[in-house]
Amino acid sequence: MSTLINIGVAQVGTASSPAVLRTILGSCIGVCVYERMKKMGGMAHVLLPSTVQGGKPEKYADTAIPMLVERLLADGCKKEFMSAKIAGGASMFTFNSSVALAQIGERNAEMARAVLAKYGIPIVIDDTGGNAGRVIDFFLEDGRLKVKSAGEEKIYYKL
């Protein structure tokens, strides 16, 4: 039996095979990093792109992703065996695209891509944008990601 670990809003969690990490996303981004040799990985559920003074670092892509990566490195993972999958970043339905609040999802996705690029961790799956909510399950036995959204399920195996 694999353990299911729920990652809440603004939480960062790491675990190893065969654990499954799950989170529910709207405009937030679920950043999933997998280390294929150690079969370890982690997930960050980020709310917003960048840190404001005094905010909890788990909330923001520019601080939560480094936290996630550093935690995996501290557990003996190697960067060259890591790959990332990102999901979420949806936006509300709007007839006027200039509403700032409706752009948070896209800004989150952009920041997640930028921070992962800085670490040199390739993004192998980018399932972001649109208007649908997503429930994601990240399986650490093989790094696959199940994305359930608008009543449909997709499974990504790429590492």
Partner: protein
């Protein structure tokens, strides 16, 4: 449009027996609180007649969300310590939990998720009202937020079989989910919610919050601010993924409603960033 589905929904909403019920004390308390002549004692007596509600509201009044620090052990004390409006909100919480704390199949919400969503929206809506100096409507923002999706409890049964059609309509016509619900089933979850509140004899402002939470600008003038606050709080909670179902974010974000709340972009982002901490408070009401 699927005429059979529409007919089946009509037969449910026209048969009052098939709509959910709540303890009558809730309706009586809401209306008593609106009467300026009413005495604290009359309200305390009324609540105390219902043992289950009394037990539950005392638990709520001692929760981290409502508590002012001192242990509250009687309805009289609760009213004196917290005030009438807070106790009335606690009564509505205790009374509606049984209706909202369910599996909502068609919208893909597991047991408890619609209840949690309502609590988060309630707490956030009240926070917005207080932040914007609208203390007089903070309590209705709270209860409006709590029950805004009550119509989903009935409509879910019909969404279950028509979800694919609804989604196809959303994609093809580029319309929000609510408009597609109406397109396919003849009703949307706001309308059904309003019917339920009519059965409960809830006041007009709450009916408006349920009926117009996705289109606040169609609410009657006098309720438009409250409805807009509920609209914004609901949008922020959905964006954070709290109680987000198969209808996802296919709901319109109405810029005029944001303007009406006078929330600046920076304030909205701050409220959004504060959802985890706010959630810790809301969780104490579960």
């Amino acid at each position: 449009m699927n005429p059979q589905i529409k007919q089946r929904i009509e037969s449910v909403i026209n048969n009052i027996e098939q709509l959910p019920s709540i303890p009558e004390v809730a309706t009586r308390i809401i209306n008593m609180v609106n009467d300026p002549e009413v005495s604290f004692k009359a309200i305390a007596d009324e609540i105390s007649k219902d043992q289950m509600i009394t037990t539950n509201i005392l638990k709520l009044c001692n929760s981290a969300y409502f508590s002012k620090g001192k242990e509250i052990s009687s309805v009289d004390r609760a009213i004196v310590t917290l005030g009438l409006k807070e106790v009335k909100d606690a009564v509505i919480l205790a009374a509606t939990k049984i209706v909202l704390n369910k599996i909502i199949m068609g919208y893909d919400l597991a047991k408890g998720e619609l209840w949690r969503h309502g609590l988060y929206v309630a707490v956030l809506a009240k926070k917005i009202a207080l932040m914007k100096g609208k203390k007089d409507i903070a309590d209705v923002a709270f209860t409006g937020g709590l029950i805004h999706d009550v119509g989903k409890t009935i409509l879910a049964l019909f969404v279950q079989g028509t979800f694919k059609e609804i989604m196809r309509t959303v994609e093809e016509k580029k319309i929000p989910f609510i408009a597609a619900e109406k397109d396919i089933m003849g009703f949307d979850h706001q309308e059904i919610g309003e019917r339920i509140l009519s059965k409960w004899k809830f006041p007009e402002v709450l009916k408006a919050s349920v009926r117009h939470h996705h289109q606040p600008m169609s609410a009657p003038d006098e309720f438009r601010t409250v409805v807009s606050i509920v609209h914004v709080a609901n949008s922020l909670c959905l964006m954070a993924g709290v109680g987000i179902g198969s209808d996802g974010l296919y709901h319109e974000l109405v810029p005029e409603a944001i303007e009406l709340t006078k929330l600046e972009p920076g304030e909205l982002e701050m409220l959004f960033a504060g959802i985890p901490e706010m959630g810790e408070q809301a969780e104490t009401l579960i």
